[in-house]
């Protein structure tokens, strides 16, 4: 509490409450995912991995869409606010984390269900491509230049990269592959899960969304603080250079006059 009162962290009262609710959601998800939900008649116990895999994929999509919206809000209005750029960067970083986890956990599920960790199936390949694209986006953010240059080039890239998401999501419909079709977000609106399994999956989606909110708030505040420190450092360096260029001693002034 003392840290919050003096502003020595990125936490506030609201983020602490959000963090506690998220932790409760994680405990709830583990309880239902590992113990209370039944085994699937086709997949058996391996369905328990899907309570993490599907929410991770959803969260990565959400994070990348937020990145694109924040990038558009930076790029298109006349007043360019770097706050939107920081939100875009924070959200993309979290999206990369969850997309990576989607692939790793999906490989474990694939080993149990298909007998192999990896196949160059349309869904797996497009997902890997999406991950590599956003790793590239994060690399572009770390290139040199002013914060405005960083914001502009990464916003353009984010608006292009988000176009891959429909391709990934509908890849199971567009190409015949090994990956199963969507169980919830189907084009015809049907849901292919029942009772407790659907409830557990939705609990996972809600918990992961809360987790995303908590992470993105803290990461955006961290980026804000780091940008401010960069500005302070630049001002100090300029001040130092100005002081160096002013002659201080009589000898220096005399040398300049002669």
């Amino acid at each position: 509490m003392a840290d919050t009162a003096t502003g020595r962290t990125t936490a506030t009262h609201a983020t602490r409450i959000l963090g506690i609710v998220t932790l409760a959601g994680v405990a709830w998800l583990i309880l239902f995912g590992l113990i209370l939900s039944p085994a699937d008649k086709n997949q058996g116990e391996s369905v328990r991995i899907l309570y993490l895999h599907a929410p991770s994929a959803w969260l990565a999509y959400l994070a990348f869409i937020v990145t694109a919206i924040a990038s558009a809000l930076y790029l298109f209005p006349k007043q360019h606010s770097l706050g939107w750029d920081r939100l875009a960067g924070a959200s993309a970083e979290i999206g990369v984390l969850f997309m990576g986890m989607t692939l790793v956990v999906g490989m474990l599920w694939g080993r149990l269900t298909w007998g192999v960790f990896w196949r160059w199936d349309a869904r797996l390949t497009t997902t890997a491509f999406l991950l590599v694209t956003y790793i590239g986006y994060l690399a572009v953010r770390r290139l040199g230049g002013t914060p405005e240059q960083r914001a502009k080039r990464s916003a353009v890239l984010a608006l292009l990269a988000v176009l891959e998401i429909p391709l990934v999501h509908f890849s199971v419909e567009l190409w015949r592959g090994l990956h199963q079709d969507a169980s919830v977000l189907r084009p015809n609106g049907d849901v292919e899960l029942d009772g407790l399994m659907l409830f557990t999956l939705l609990s996972g989606i809600v918990t992961f969304t809360l987790m995303y909110a908590w992470l993105v708030i803290h990461r955006t505040r961290t980026l804000t603080a780091e940008d401010m420190l960069d500005d302070v450092g630049l001002e100090l360096a300029l001040e130092e250079r100005r002081r160096e260029s002013i002659p201080h001693t009589i000898e220096e002034k005399g040398a300049l006059l002669s």
Binding site: A11, G33, I49, L52, T224
Partner: protein, 45 residues
């Protein structure tokens, strides 16, 4: 069955372990940066 349990537990450990590690990294960096700034320059305070 035992092989299933190993893969299932591993997937939960990787997911939540990864999230905890990232959250710790974010909080640590945040604390380090905010400590060096005056309170009135932080919009969330």
């Amino acid at each position: 069955m035992m092989e299933d349990a190993g893969f299932i537990v591993t997937s939960y450990v990787i997911t939540f372990g990864g999230i905890v590690a990232y959250a710790w990294y974010v909080l640590r960096r945040g604390k380090k940066a905010t400590k060096q700034l005056p309170d009135d320059s932080k919009p969330w305070v």
